[in-house]
């Protein structure tokens, strides 16, 4: 399993626990629209806290928008870029 697909799966499990989705997060494809799956702005904050804890990153406020949380891939891109920034710092 590649690093990226491991990230995707971790995000999927966090979504299952904290996303309050109307579908089982395990069944979601990487690019499925999370808002269509029932992600609310309220749940987004809990999701963010869980992501920060799992990946050891701090998501800057300017990234806390609908685009960031639109899909598993979108979240993974943000997490990876924050991890990358930390590694090169």
């Amino acid at each position: 399993m590649s690093a990226l697909s491991m990230t995707h799966n971790k995000i999927r499990m966090i979504l299952k626990t904290h996303g309050k989705l109307s579908v089982d997060a395990v069944t979601l494809a990487d690019n499925d629209d999370l808002y269509e799956a029932g992600l609310s702005s309220f749940a987004t904050v809990q999701l963010m806290l869980a992501l920060e804890d799992e990946f050891g990153v701090e998501i800057p406020e300017k990234l806390l928008n609908r685009r960031t949380f639109a899909s598993i891939s979108a979240i993974a891109n943000v997490v990876e870029s924050l991890n990358g920034a930390r590694r090169t710092a």
Partner: protein, 391 residues
């Protein structure tokens, strides 16, 4: 009757004309009978005030939200129900302006609103959901080019008197409750079956009865943007800003009555400061901070780009504005009541503030302050509030 619009008066001047010449004369009856302020809405239409915020290309006057807020507060000096009806119409219109310009149907609809001065109402609350407007049980059922919608709307303010309704619903019957759209339906496309009566403490003229809304209309009337974005980018902010302007106007009229009372007392006993003067000073200090809060947030909204509108900080600021102004308005009017004493408590004196107090008590409830504070509490787990004094 003078047609103020013919003399090219400003939005605020025309609102003042409607407020003092029409609304003031009927406000007590509107309140007592809990009836729709027909004559005020007719005057608003005659003065073309229902379309002022539309861009010129649609027949509007490009009025800013700040100008509309000014009009709301002036109307509220004389009739809070009329002011709230005007505010709620403008909130719906702002959603169309912000999110309807890419859709040919909504562009034509906006032209029609200006031409015919259509009054827009809102169906966002629903049985089983209550005031949580970001969830729906009902759904639009699209069938080819048409859609059907049946909504148990527990409140549609002035629903029976509106020319069109903007209703929230799930995107499709199997969509999650938070995946909503906003659909516009025009009077000949829907039927309203009244379910509950609006017999309330205050804001009685808004006639916010409950209805079952049954609509059938072309699918192109569903706004293309998700309602989540419409709510965040235009509706929540304009709601809080214009509602607060109404509450500010109610409180302002109570203060002006209290001030008149204190001055009359002072004239009776020259050389002494009447006992109510100190409390009046407190009320004026409170209303000053209400005004500063509203204006600062109107200007923040006017200068905000799409990212700012969607930011946590902006949502927290609008929540704070609503909670603070709704609470302070009641405190200010309560001060006015204490100042005016029995003359304030009695109806039909120049110092009566009973209606003001009853109307203002709606402020904490229309989207419950507790719900708003819970929302802020959640947002503040993520948002780092800017504690700097200047930008």
């Amino acid at each position: 009757m003078a047609l103020a619009s013919e003399s090219r008066l400003s939005v605020v001047e025309r609102a003042r004309y409607v407020a003092t010449e029409i609304a003031a004369k009927n406000a007590a009856q509107v309140d007592r009978e809990g009836r729709f302020p027909h004559e005020v809405v007719a005057a608003l239409k005659q003065e073309r005030l229902l379309s002022v915020m539309l861009p010129g290309e649609f027949g509007g006057e490009n009025a800013t939200l700040e100008q509309v807020a000014g009009a709301c507060s002036i109307l509220a000096h004389h009739c809070a129900s009329s002011a709230m009806i005007f505010a709620m119409h403008q909130i719906k219109l702002s959603s169309l302006i912000s999110h309807g310009q890419a859709s040919p149907w909504h562009r034509a609809f906006m032209q029609r609103i200006a031409r015919e001065q259509l009054l827009l109402a809102s169906a966002t609350t629903e049985g089983g959901i209550g005031g949580d407007l970001r969830n729906s049980i009902c759904a639009v059922k699209v069938n080819g080019t048409q859609f059907d919608l049946e909504k148990d709307a527990t409140v549609i303010s002035y629903g029976a008197y509106a020319d069109a309704i903007l209703a929230t619903a799930k995107r499709h019957p199997d969509a999650p409750s938070s995946d909503q759209v906003l659909a516009a339906v025009i009077k000949d496309q829907y039927r309203l079956e009244k379910t509950t009566d609006w017999d309330t403490l205050g804001m009685r003229g808004t006639c916010s009865d409950g209805f079952k809304l049954i609509a059938h209309a072309p699918a192109e009337q569903i706004l293309p943007k998700p309602f989540a974005e419409i709510a965040a980018q235009s509706m929540l902010a304009t709601s809080h800003l214009l509602w607060c302007s109404v509450w500010f106007g109610i409180a302002g009229d109570a203060v002006s009555r209290a001030q008149a009372y204190v001055r009359a007392e002072a004239r009776k006993k020259p050389g002494t400061t009447p006992p109510g003067a100190l409390r009046l000073a407190e009320a004026v200090a409170m209303i000053q901070s209400m005004r500063a809060n509203i204006l600062a947030n109107l200007r923040r909204f006017a200068g905000a780009d799409e990212d700012e509108l969607m930011s946590l900080g902006f949502a927290v600021a609008m929540n704070n504005l609503k909670v603070d102004v709704s609470q302070t308005a009641v405190q200010v009017i309560n001060h006015a009541l204490l100042i005016c004493g029995i003359h304030g408590y009695k109806n039909n004196t120049p110092f009566s503030v009973g209606r003001h107090l009853r109307d203002a008590h709606s402020a904490a409830l229309m989207i419950s302050n507790d719900r708003i504070l819970s929302n802020s509490a959640n947002l503040l787990l993520a948002h780092r509030y800017d504690l700097g004094l200047i930008d």
